[in-house]
Amino acid sequence: MKLLVKYNRVNIPITIVALLISSMGFYFIIHYALIHQLDKDLRIEQMEIMHYVKEKNALPETSNYKDQQIEFHLTSNDNIKTRFSTEDVFDKRENETESYRRLEFLVTANGKSYVAEVKKSQQETEDIVQLILIITLAVIIFLILILFIANRFLLASLWKPFHHTLEELKQFNLSSKNKLKLPQTDINEFKELNETARSMTQKVSNDYELLKNFTENASHEIQTPLAIIKNKIELLSQSENLTNTQIHSIQSISDAASRLSKLTQSLLLLAKIENHQFKNSENVNLSFVINHCIENFEELNALKNICIEKIITDDIFIEMNESLAEILVSNIIINAIKHNCPGGAIKIELDTGSLAVSNTGIPPQIHTSELFERFKKDSPSADSLGLGLSIVKTICDTYGFPVIYIYENGMHIIKVIFT
């Protein structure tokens, strides 16, 4: 959920409720004030009547206007107190109920007691209150609308440095060594964010550099002793008169040293691909790379009696690192040769959309997609490290190419889809 949406979700209901409550309060206050004003008028009227009665000792004339009515009724009760009340009267002419404010009080004229009743229409008051209510509601709607739009634009401009920083962080690539280009801002929160991002990326870069050096150095330090082991074995095997047992031991040591060396090299390669250390991308002629690779293994296939079928479209160009393209192709093809059976077949198909290499071989014992995992091997033979296909997968992942491994009609098929 966007911050603005979340903010609006809380802010707008609160604003509406607050404005509704305050407009209700406003309504009651205005209403009260207007009634109070009406009562004051009624009192003035009462005073005038009293004054008239006192002077003339007679009742004034009753009047019956729409906005003010005065009536007198004889009463025997002398205990009537002055009192205000509101009454609703149904007006037949206009077919609606009208509210009146009424004041009752006792007048004595000619020794007789009368209840004087002065009524004033509340219509005007109601109209004013209604008008005020409409204006208030309109103001509320207008205010919310303005707030909503203003928030939208204001927040967008306020968050600009944040989005800029976020974009920079997204673009941040350890292997490209580019420093973050963070925007200048006078907002403390964003300043702090930028500072933190800067120091964090700096630290990550340093750590990465250290790790990279460590990986390379470790690989260096391992390869040198391995070179010594292998070379000494080679010299040792030159000696005459070795017994069969000795030959066997020498061979085993040599094989183990080779495996160890290939293992570290493959793992280093995987780490390098994952760290995006193969940066240079160019338009690689994949058709050429594949043909070259097939040519390289041509005699090998002839020796193993493997028949190769090529359906390769010429001049297929793919945007990627050339070394990685070569590694990708040779790993897939070597895999097809290595896990083939004598007298088997390999089919290599390349078109604009995909590369598919299928080969004969024994049916897979484990799920084919698992074979992309590191050290997962179908056969427990020591011939294979189980890293070839994970290198293929890692390269494909780097470029976002989907890669699948299926077993169909007795054929192992590896398919890379170029997107």
């Binding site: 260096h220 390869q223 040198t224 391995l226 010594i228 290939k262 293994f297 020796l303 070394s323 070839g388």
Partner: protein, 223 residues
């Protein structure tokens, strides 16, 4: 032929020297940067084996100085860092070849021989071994003037054998030399390959040059 081995790992430089000596090369060893600079300044070598990581300085600096002094010594970089950057940098600086550790001594020897052949191009582009004659420029192979028709890989294999004559070459070294990749631990397919080459050589002359050594590999010998 004089070779300088610049390598700080004593066990390694000794092995290299021992193997190369068997191929009639004279070897000198420099174990650190200063010795290497000193030796290259006062002597000329046919080929220099150069390790990049050295105590006291970077091996590439030695290469730079050699080129500054307009020396023509062949240079083969031996590096434990199988890194593309170093390789490109070294070759751009004028190194002749690049080999990453660990390597087979037979492979190293073949590379050194190739560098020296290129260096003395005019005089020495023909390799002679007993009756066998290889013209490395035209890639023509003859035995007693009978031409031998070889495929590309068979030619490479023969050249590899001749460069490492009378030494045992493991099947793994052959496989790596010809296909340069990890083909797994079973090199039985090499057998068929060797058999074909041997047959072609025997058809052209009557000598069987290739001896197989049980369980280990092959040896290229004269009669």
């Amino acid at each position: 032929m004089k070779i300088l081995i610049i390598e700080d790992e004593k066990a390694l430089s000794e092995s290299i020297a021992m193997y190369l000596a068997s191929q009639e090369y004279t070897c000198e060893i420099a174990g650190d940067y200063t010795t290497a600079i000193h030796k290259t300044e006062y002597n000329d070598y046919d080929c220099i084996l150069l390790d990049i990581t050295l105590p006291g300085g970077n091996g590439l600096k030695i290469l730079e100085r050699l080129k500054e002094d307009k020396k023509t010594d062949g240079v083969l970089i031996i590096s434990a860092k199988n890194s593309l950057d170093d390789k490109i940098k070294g070759l751009n600086l004028g190194a002749d070849d690049y080999l990453s550790k660990p390597f087979h001594l037979s492979e190293l020897n073949a590379r050194v021989a190739a560098i020296i052949r290129r260096k003395y191009f005019d005089g020495n582009s023909v390799l002679q071994f007993d009756n066998l004659r290889i013209d490395t420029q035209t890639r023509m192979v003859t035995i007693e003037n009978n031409p031998v028709e070889l495929t590309k890989k068979e030619y490479e294999l023969l050249l590899y054998f001749v460069s490492n004559k009378r030494r045992l070459i493991s099947k793994e070294a052959i496989a790596e030399h010809l296909w340069g990749s990890d083909m797994g631990g079973n090199f039985d397919f090499i057998y068929t390959h060797i058999k074909n080459l041997r047959k072609k050589l025997m058809d052209a002359g009557d000598a069987d040059y290739i001896k197989s050594v049980y369980g280990m590999g092959y040896k290229f010998t004269g009669q």
